[in-house]
Amino acid sequence: MSQIMNPPSSSRIKVRPAAEREGRKDYISIRDFGFWYGEKKALDAISLDIPERQVVAFIGPSGCGKSTLLRNLNRMNDLVDGIRHEGDITINGRSIYDPGLEVISLRRRVGMVFQKSNPFPKSIFENVVYALRVVGVRDRAVLEEACETSLRKAALWDEVKDRLNDSALGLSGGQMQRLCIARAIANRPEILLMDEPCSALDPIATGKIEELIHELKEQFTIVIVTHSMQQAARVSDRTAFFYLGKQIEYDTTEKIFMNPSQAQTEAYISGRFG
C-alpha cells in the first residue's frame, strides 16, 4: 500500500480527503445504468454520484466498461450502431436523455479527452480553438487568448508557442495528447472526461497533466479513466472500481486504496489480479 501512496516520481501528491470543496454532491448522478452494444451487455446496474468540482477515477481491468461508461456521460456512444441503455444519467438534475436537450450542447458542457490522441489535420492553433470556432467565436483576439490559456494549462505552451501555425501532426505523441487536452478545455466545459490521458506520456508530462487536473478541478468536474493505480491515488478524490461491466466499489480514493471493502478491489489495486 505504501508504495502506492508514495510513488517514487512525486512525493508531493497524496491521497486527498474527499469532498473538501462545496458543491452538489450528486452533480452527475448515474442511476441503475445498464448498457448494451447490440446483444452484448457492457454495463450492468451502475449507480454512482459524482460531486461537483471533484476528480473521480474509474479503474478496472481492461474491457470492464470504463470507457463505455465515460462515453455515455457525453453520449458519444450514440455514434455506435445498435446500442441500448436502461436507467438514467442526470447532470445537475437534468437527464442527459431528456428529449428537449440538444446533444450538441451537452457535449459543449461535457468535454472529452480520448484514449488515443486525435488531433485534426490542421494547425496547432486551429486545433486548440476548434471548440470556440464551432460555437461561432470569430474575434481573433479572443481566440488567441483562449489558445494561449489552454495551451499553458495543458503544459504545452512553451513547446509550441513559436509554431502555432504548424500542422498539429508534426507534434510528438505526448505533445499531441496534451494538445487534445488543451483543445478539450478551450471552451471551458463544466465537466471534463479523460480516458487514460497519460497513457502515451513520459513521467514529466504525466506530472504536468496531473498538476493540470488539480488546477482544473477548481472549476471543472473531472472524470478520469486510468490504468495507473498511482495516478488514481494521486489525482482523484473518489474512485470507482469496475469489473466485467459491474460496479464493484465506489468510495473516496482514500477508502478504496487504504481500506477497500471488497476483496476484488483489494486484489486489483494490490496487483494480484488480472
Binding site: R107, N118, V135, S167, L169
Partner: protein, 766 residues
Amino acid sequence: METSDKKPSLAAAPEARFTVSPMTLATDRWMGRLIRFGGVGVVLAVFGMLAFLIFQVFPLFTGAKVEPVGSLSVPAGAVAFGEDEYGDLPYVVLADGKVIFQRAKDGSKVLEWAPALAARRVTAVRSYPRSGLVFLGLSDGAVQELRVVYRSTFDAAGKRTVEPVVTALEPLQVGKPGLPCVEVWNAKGAQARLILVRQEEAGRPLLTAVRLTERKGLGGKAKVTVSAPFVVAADAASVDKVLLPSTAESLIVIGKSGEVRTYADDGATFSFLQAFTPFKESGDPAVASAGMIFGNVSVVFVSRTGEQQVWSMYPQLQPDGKSLRRWGKIHDGEALAGAGEGVYAAEGNKCYLAVAGGKLQIRNMTTGSLRWEGDAPSGSIRQLAFAGNYDRFTALSADGKLHRWSIVDHHPESSWGAFFGKIWYEGATGPAYTWQSSAGSDEFEAKYSLVPLFYGTVKGPFYALLFALPIALTAAIYVSQFLRPEYRQVVKPVMEIMASLPSVVLGFLAGLWLAPLVDPRLISLFCAVGILAPAALFAGFLWSVLPQPVRRQVKPGMEFLWLLPFLALCAFFAWKSGPAVEAAFFTVKDSASGLPIADFREWWRQTTGATYDSRNSLVVGFVMGFAVIPIVFTIAEDALSNVPNSLVSGSLALGASRWQTVWSVVVPTAISGIVSGVMIGFGRAIGETMIVVMATGNTAVMESNPFSGMRTLSANIAVELPEAASGHTHYRALFLGACCLFLLTFVINTLAEVLRQRLRERYKVV
C-alpha cells in the same frame, strides 16, 4: 511452417528456425523483378504511344522536298512549253509558231512541227501545258488553235512508244482584223469556251473575245458555233496584265498604274465589277506579278518591292445592306526577296510558286506558310507549270533551258497556323477557327483548325461537371457521413454498377430519347431541377422547427425516407408549372404567324440571337454527368469514409454539429481524395466519346451558348478516322488531335496530382 512442424529433426537444430529458405528468397527476388518489369512496361507503353502519335504527326510540320531533276536544252527562241502526263516528251513553241518535241531523257528531237500560215505571221503564243492546247495569235488578229496529243502504240513485244501528234485548227478571226495579236488566252467556261486576244490600236489596248459554244449534234458530232467578236474591258486605261480564270467567268485586268479592274461574265459580254489598287499605300503601287490561285477566286499580287497580297471574292456587306461577293484583301503575305517576276499556281491545291529576287518560293496561299525555297535558274523564267498532281514542276527559261523539279509535299495545306491559328479561308468573311475536313466538291479546301475542337473538349466536360459535381460530392458526403450503414451498403454498389454503364448506352438514351423529350419541356425541367435545392433546404428548415419528440421518431440517417417523397412532390409540381412559367416569362411573337407563343427556344433565339439545337450542350452535360457522377461519387465517398472515426468523434465531442464536423474536419481531411475523384471525373469527361458523338450535332462551333452543340477532339477522331485516308493530311490532323488530347489529359492529370500531393501534405492524417 508446416514442414517444420512435420519434421521433428528441425527441433534438434534450433538455428533452422531462423534460416530463410532459398525458395522464399527466390520468390521474393522474382516477384520484385516481375513488378519492376510491369512498372517499366507501363511507362514504356505510354511513351511508346506518345512516340507513335508524334511519329504520325511529324510529317505535317516538315516542308516540301523539292529537287531539281535536270534541265533540257531547247532552242533559244522558245517562248512556251508543254508536256505529256509524265514529262517524258516535252515540247517547246518558238516565237514563229514552230513546235519542237524533245525527249526529256537525252534531249533528242522527236518531232518538229511548223504551222502553214501563208502570208500571216505568228505574233503571240500561249501554251496550256496541262491540256495540250497551244494558241497562236496571228499578225491579222486571227487565232489558230493547236492540239497536242500523245498517241501511245505498243509493238509486238509489248513495248510502249509514244508519238506526239499536233493538229492545227482553222484560224479564227477573234481580234480586230489587220491588227497583230499581242497576247492570246483561252478558257473553258461552263457553257462556252472563250478566246481572248489583246491588240494595240493607236497606242490603246484593245481586248476582244469570242465565245465558242459546242453542241452535240444528232450523230454525236459536235457542232461549234462561234459568236461575233466583242470588245471587253474597253474602259481600262492601260493593260499590263490580264488574268483569265480557267472557268472564264470573270476577267481581271491589271493596269500599269497598279489598278486592278475586275469584270464578270454577264452572259453577253463582261461587265465591270470592281476596281481596286492593292498596293495603294505602298511607295510603288504597280503590280509586278500576279497569279490566279487554283479555285479561281483568289489572286496573289506581288509588288515591285516584293510585298505580297492575296485578294479573294467573298460575301461583303454593301452600303445598301445586301451581301454580295466582291473582291477584298484576305492576306498580307510575307515580303519576298525582290520584285515579283511571276506567280504560278499549283493545280489541285492552294499553293503557288513565286519568283522574286533570284529565288523560287512555294507558298501556301491560305496559310501563308513557306513550303520550299530555292534558287531560280539563271535565265529569266518565261513559263512555269506544275504537274496536275503537284509532284513536279517545269520552267522554261529565256536562255533556252527547260528545267524540271520534283516535289514531295504530302501536306501542303498544313502548318502551325492552320491547326492552331485563325485562318481566313477563301470565301469566308473573315479569319476564323474552322474545322471542316471534307465536302462534296474537289475544289473544296479542307480546314483543320483544332481550336474549336479544343473548345468543345472543354465545353462538354464543363457542363457535365457543372451538373455532376454538386450532385456527386453532396451525395458522397451524405452517404458517407449521414446515411445509415445498411443503406450505404446498397447505394455504393449500385453507384459502382452505374459507373460501368457503357457510355454508348448513355449516348443513345441522350440523343434519341432525352433530347427530343426535353426539347419541348425545357422550362419544366429547369423548374423541376431548380426547385430541388430550395426544397431540400426548406425541408431541412421544417425539420429543425419540428419538436424534438417528433424528430426522435426518425432514426438518425433515415431522414431521407420522408425527404425523398417531399422532394419528388416539389419536383412534380414544378414540372407541372413549367408551361405557366414559360408563358409568363418566355412569350415571344412567332415569326411566321405573328401571334404570341410561349416557347423558350424561340425566345432564346430572338433575345440572344444565338442558336438553339435540340441536341445541345445541356443534354450532353446532363448525360455525361451521369457517366461522371458514379466515378466522382465512388472515389470521393471512399476518401470521406476513410477519414478516421476518431477525428469525427473528436470533433463531435468538442460540441460541433454533424455538419460542422463534416465541413471543417472530414472534408478537409479527405480533400486530396475528393480532388482525385473530381480530376478523374474530369478526365473521363474529356475522353468521353460516344455520348458526345450521339448526343450532339457534332458541329465544330465555338460558342459558349449552352443550347448549341459542340465537337470534341475524341468525338472528332471517332467520327472521322474511318473515312480519313491513311497518310493524308486529314488522317494526320486527327492524330494531331489525339496528340493534343493526350497532352491535355497529361497536363490536367499532372496538375491534379500536384494539387493532390500538396493537399495531402497539408491534411495528412497520422
